[in-house]
């Protein structure tokens, strides 16, 4: 996804000199194609994320479209108030790119995990969040949004091989993309966990349980109407995200159900515990927090057994 981002952004920047790429000294073996193609549009600001956002605010005020690159928590949480008082307050087209959504930086440990970025930023209505589910959608989403007249947080993955069957790169702001239809329940999934959820839906189908899978890849505007329709059409919704449970996708679904007044049961699957001091791969963390296919299937089966759908 990251390589697709760099390639697509390079194409855009070659055609539009307003597009700049700033990095806080990260992006080794990722950003070189951009830096080589348009060196005058590439700046390493040093390890200074707050200043990077401040500089970008000044650049955007001067007519540029700066993209700011770092690892998700460094890009989003460290300069949070600079984002709030800079691009959001001034309504400027600054793009913050946080790489390593979820547990992608597994062995790097909790300092590097992107499990609270979307939750922390979603309450800012002036900031659009784009969190693609695979590389194809990354490209579509970037092409559709890079020149919007408001700030954007792109929450992207490193992995290029992630593939969501049925998504075909579709992306629309304010909409959920349905990649599978079923009657018994609807999964709502954010980001690169979508393939795990699709695989879980396939396994469940083999056991006679049919599931819709809706991929949510953007907030603000959020797909409120689509989620309300899913809630009306299903007795059970299951949200899945590599994110702390409060604030991001699961919260959005809960708020939508409550405000729509539908009698739908919601189960939120996400990260419910603080860091435990144990380290490992992304796969390890997904297993630890019940975010993998097997755990998702097991969870749904236990729900169905308890409460036939």
């Amino acid at each position: 996804m990251r390589a697709t981002f760099a390639k697509t952004l390079t194409e855009i920047a070659c055609d539009d000199a307003r597009v700049l790429l700033l990095t806080a000294d990260l992006g080794y073996m990722a950003l070189e194609p951009f830096a080589e193609a348009v060196p005058d549009q590439f700046i390493n600001v040093g390890v200074a994320e707050q200043n990077m956002v401040g500089i970008a605010t000044g650049l955007a005020d001067g007519g540029f479209i700066p993209f700011l690159y770092s690892i998700a928590p460094f890009a989003s949480l460290r300069p949070y108030e600079f984002i709030r008082n800079g691009p959001i307050l001034h309504r400027l087209p600054v793009r913050i790119v946080g790489v390593g959504a979820g547990f992608e930086y597994g062995t790097a440990g909790p300092t590097h995990h992107g499990i609270d970025d979307a939750a922390a930023l979603r309450p800012q209505p002036g900031l659009t969040i784009v969190t693609p589910a695979d590389a194809n959608q990354m490209r579509t989403a970037l092409l559709a949004t890079w020149d919007l007249d408001r700030p954007i947080y792109y929450r992207i993955g490193k992995e290029e091989k992630v593939f969501v069957p049925g998504l075909d790169g579709r992306f629309r702001l304010g909409r959920a993309e349905i990649v599978r239809e079923g009657d018994d329940l609807a999964f709502v999934v954010m980001g690169a966990l979508a393939p795990e959820v699709c695989a879980a839906a396939e396994t469940l189908a083999g056991q006679g349980i049919s599931a819709t899978v809706a991929v949510v890849s953007a907030f603000n505007p959020s797909p409120i109407d689509d989620l309300a329709r899913l809630a009306q059409a299903h007795r059970l919704l299951v949200s899945v995200e590599a994110q702390y449970i409060d604030g991001a996708l699961g919260s959005l679904v809960a708020e939508t159900i409550a405000e729509a007044g539908t009698a739908t049961k919601l189960v939120r699957i996400g990260v419910r515990r603080p860091p435990q001091g144990r380290s490992g791969s992304q796969r390890f963390y997904h297993a630890l927090h019940d975010l993998n296919q097997a755990a998702i299937v097991e969870r749904v089966l236990s729900l169905v057994a308890r409460e036939p759908v």
Binding site: L20, A48, Q50, N51, G54, I55, T57, L59, G62, L89
Partner: protein, 270 residues
């Protein structure tokens, strides 16, 4: 349209102070001492240094008041410059007003919202970089407080500006020696500020922050230096009002009617 010399001459520290006192009294709000300490710096900028004819001109110089809590002094300068009518000045701190305690970029002539310390200089640095990348000769002036030297982000911006030789960036440091809860020497002492900025790669000079001619000359003589420029402006907190000088209370405190009368008397006599 060129700003008349009469208008430029009207932008004086005394007049800025009178507006500050009058509007603070009317709105019953503080931050008076901080506004008074920068009145002469703003008089130097808006009375001559800034190359500005209209807020709408994209190539006019930019000014970023990083110590946003002194916005009332900026509003006074904008008013004297003719960019803000006096009626607007009288809405200070009212409902639906564009003139809050901290400046908002909705107000013509204000480019950046400030108020959270340590954010103005990074934005000003970006604005200077934008000017250079656009091939514009516009300059960017920032006014920061000495308390903002506590903020790491200020130094991040200074290092970036020096690295990129942003010689179109002019930074005034209002060295009034005070911050919200005490004297800077007792909170985070900044010894030898000129040497510090020079060590960070800037063209740094000390100036008297109440001497308009000296500040104007300092900016003119700095122009040829290829580094970003820093003017460490020694100022007196509450300058012009004897009972406010050096008193921490006047960071926040509003004036009584008697205090206002005395302050106006003293300022008018200067």
């Amino acid at each position: 349209m060129t700003t008349s010399s009469e208008t430029l001459r009207s932008v004086t520290g005394r007049r800025i102070r009178e507006h500050v006192l009058r509007e603070s009294r009317r709105a019953n709000v503080g931050h008076i001492g901080s506004s008074l300490s920068i009145a002469d710096i703003l008089a130097a900028l808006y009375g001559g240094i800034l190359r500005i004819e209209s807020p709408a001109d994209p190539n006019r110089d930019r000014f970023v008041l990083s110590k946003g809590h002194a916005a009332l002094a900026l509003y006074a300068a904008l008013s004297l410059r003719g960019w803000l009518d006096e009626g607007a000045l009288a809405t200070y701190c009212g409902d639906e007003s564009l003139l809050g305690v901290h400046p908002e970029s909705e107000l013509p002539g204000v480019d950046f919202c400030t108020g959270s310390l340590g954010q103005g200089l990074p934005m000003a640095t970006g604005a200077a970089l934008a000017a250079r990348k656009s091939g514009s000769r516009r300059r960017v002036f920032a006014l920061i407080s000495d308390a903002e030297l506590n903020e790491g982000s200020t130094w991040e911006a200074v290092m970036f500006a020096a690295q990129h030789r942003l010689s179109n960036l002019y930074v005034f440091v209002d060295l009034n020696g005070q911050q919200a809860l005490g004297h800077t020497r007792d909170v985070i002492a900044i010894e030898n500020p000129v040497e510090r900025f020079a060590a960070f790669g800037c063209d740094a000079t000390e100036v008297d922050g109440h001497d308009v001619a000296a500040m104007t000359a300092a900016v003119a003589s700095a122009e040829a230096d290829p580094r970003p420029h820093v003017f460490v402006a020694r100022t007196v907190f509450g300058r012009g009002v004897s009972y406010m000088n050096g008193q921490i209370k006047w960071h926040y405190w509003p004036m009584s009617d008697e205090e206002f009368a005395q302050a106006m008397r003293e300022v008018s006599e200067t």
